[in-house]
Amino acid sequence: MKIALLILYLTSFIFYLLYLFKQKIPYQKYGLYFIFIAFIFHGYLVLNSFFIFSYLPVYTIYDNLFLFSFAISAMYMFLRFATNLKMLGLFASFLNFCLLLIILNLTPSFNEPNESLKNLFVSFHVLTGFLAYAALIFASFISIFFLALNKAIKSKKQSFFFLRLPSLEFLDKSANFSINVGFLILSISLISGIIYFKKISQSFWTNDPKEIASLISWFLYATLIHARIAFGVRGKKAAIATLIGLLCVLFTFFGTNALTGTYHSQFTR
């Protein structure tokens, strides 16, 4: 099943790559069709396991990555139609191809979770968290596009990217949109996590590294959004800040997992 999914993402990636070099619309369309089919199929697999367990299995690194890669597909579909930024498919398909390659090389282990975690609330907390990460990762990709195009225009070179990317303002707005979406969902995820934790342990906070890192990311993006509205921080500065935010997100997701013995790390072994 997962090999079929891997092939779908790979096919989509190849079409997007062809589109990047040849700039022919049909390639872009086929790329989109394939990633869309992959998204539906991926969604079916996720839903299937949901119906078996009546919660999302997110208690091993194997399941986590599988759900995360679904969140990337889902967020890509949303951003693709909300912003109409076609090039994003290149990253989405490549990222999921890589993730599935990793998943296929991991041995699935079953980690029997604590009874208190087997419920919808936790599923919701994890899924929204992953969707937020996906949106913020896409915002960073768009920011990389922005920096490449900005450099080309400033240095007056009609480079490879100059000829292939949409306008600067469009990229800036799309990145901003993705950040806003990511920030909103991240907030929902954090709040749901805090409320749930309060319910089961009578306290809001465990000083878990993942919690701290999430909060730092949240403040970083909050500052960026505020600076944009209040002082008009945009363009290159905003793009660089978005990339710094990405480092924080990546640390939240992967870095904290490396630290063992913490609360969240029990799910990522």
Binding site: L149, I153, K154, K156, Q158, F162, P166, S167, L168, E169, F170, F231, G232, V233, R234, G235, K236, K237
Partner: protein
């Protein structure tokens, strides 16, 4: 009686704007012109193209008729212009040249901005006008359909319209690369000059929101503001206007920079760092090159723009060659179809003649029904009569022609070929 294709007209390459203006037809005028020219028996089919860059009459005319005179007389009568004024601007293409010309026009090879996409729509509209008034028939219908097909092929198979090849258009293309949509953008023109005004025209064409005009002399600002439906501002106000403007075109005769790095840097927070695009067409330069280093500020001077179009020009040359090749295939395909159009009436006539012969001989046969011995004799005699009738004209032609000409063998050979008398194995 033979019909031929020709195109009579003038365009931006042969005629200045004042002549083109005088000749231009409005939509309504095109329709009445079609109706009145259609009445002329020498003009068999007709389409009129009238855009700001060209006025052309595509016609099918009776061979040996003086169609040029008919058209020039018509222009003189209906437009307030004398023949002397426009006769030198006029071009006449006949036959293959006319076919190639219309295909080049529709493919935007003949346009002021080669590759611009509007022309095909304008030609389609002109054809629709003509078709509605029934001034086009089989030949122009076929020609125009082929033309549309070829123009589409040129558009999809070449990159002819992709790149800007004039300074002013390159500047606008850059503005679009920066802003995408220009509809919410304001433009500030500082100074004046042909290139700067052309760039402004392009921006207005792309629906930019508002135009501010600033000049050393306020009168000049007023004059330009009237021309471009913009707002005249004082020269001293220009820096303040940077809060509202998004695109600045500068073209003054100033020896020093009129916009300095520090000044622009201070303005940026006031406009919430929204992007500013400076186009400096002046020599010596008007705008401090250091401005390009400020975040969200982009500056292109004349040299930069020239570098952009230089590369585009080279690329376009190659695309034009490709486009011409596609058009050549179109011209040949249409000429073949056109030759078939000429054959068709002959085939119909021949068929009719043969049918007439058969009918009349059968009639005669029926009258003499009782004189035949049996059915076989009846069939034999009737088919004999039909055969004789059919070959009567060709045979008498052969006899007559071969007595007049020394070279009999030519006709005889032709005749043997026509009826396939020397059957090959």
């Amino acid at each position: 009686m033979r019909s031929k294709i020709a195109i009579v007209g003038l365009n931006h390459k042969t005629a200045k704007i004042d002549i083109r203006e005088k000749l231009a037809f409005s939509d309504e005028e095109v329709r009445s012109a079609l109706l009145s020219l259609k009445k002329n028996k020498d003009i068999l089919e007709l389409i009129i193209f009238s855009t700001c860059n060209r006025v052309e009459f595509l016609i099918v005319y009776e061979e040996n008729s003086n169609f040029t005179k008919i058209i020039t007389n018509f222009i003189q009568e209906t437009r307030s212009i004398s023949e002397e004024e426009f006769e030198n601007s006029l071009y006449i293409h006949k036959g293959e040249d006319a076919i190639r010309h219309i295909m080049q026009v529709a493919s935007s090879l003949d346009s002021l901005i080669v590759g611009e996409p509007q022309i095909l729509g304008q030609i389609k509209k002109a054809y629709k006008n003509a078709a509605e008034l029934r001034s086009t028939k089989i030949i122009l219908n076929k020609l125009l359909h082929k033309t549309f097909q070829i123009a589409k092929e040129v558009r999809t198979q070449t990159k002819i319209g992709n790149n800007a090849v004039s300074i002013s258009y390159a500047a606008v293309k850059l503005a679009m690369k920066i802003f995408g949509d220009l509809r919410e953008k304001n433009v500030l023109l500082i100074g004046a000059g042909e290139m700067a005004e052309l760039a402004l025209e392009h921006l207005i064409y792309h629906n930019c929101k508002q135009v501010f005009i600033s000049n050393r002399t306020f009168e000049k600002s007023m004059e330009l503001a009237k021309k471009f439906k913009g707002e005249a501002i004082l020269f001293e106000e220009k820096l303040n206007k940077l809060k509202e403007a998004d695109i600045i075109i500068s073209s003054t005769a100033s020896k020093d920079f009129i916009l300095k790095h520090e000044e622009v840097k201070k303005i940026m927070p006031k406009r919430k760092n929204k992007v500013l695009f400076f186009i400096d067409i002046a020599v010596p330069r008007d705008i401090d090159p250091l401005i390009n280093t400020i975040d969200n500020c982009y500056l292109y001077d004349l040299d930069n723009l020239e570098n952009v179009i230089h590369k585009n020009l080279e690329e376009r040359e190659q695309e034009v060659v490709k486009a011409k090749r596609i058009i050549d295939t179109g011209v040949i395909a249409f000429q073949n179809a056109f030759a078939n159009l000429k054959i068709a009436p002959t085939i119909t006539d021949l068929k009719e003649k043969l049918e007439d012969i058969i009918k009349s001989e059968l009639k005669k046969g029926v009258k003499r029904k009782n004189t035949y011995k049996d059915k076989d004799e009846e069939i034999e005699l009737i088919t004999n009569a039909i055969t004789n009738k059919i070959i009567f004209d060709p045979v008498s032609f052969l006899k007559k022609e071969t007595t007049h000409h020394k070279d009999r063998s030519r006709y005889i050979n032709f005749f043997r070929l026509l009826f396939n008398l020397d059957k090959e194995e």
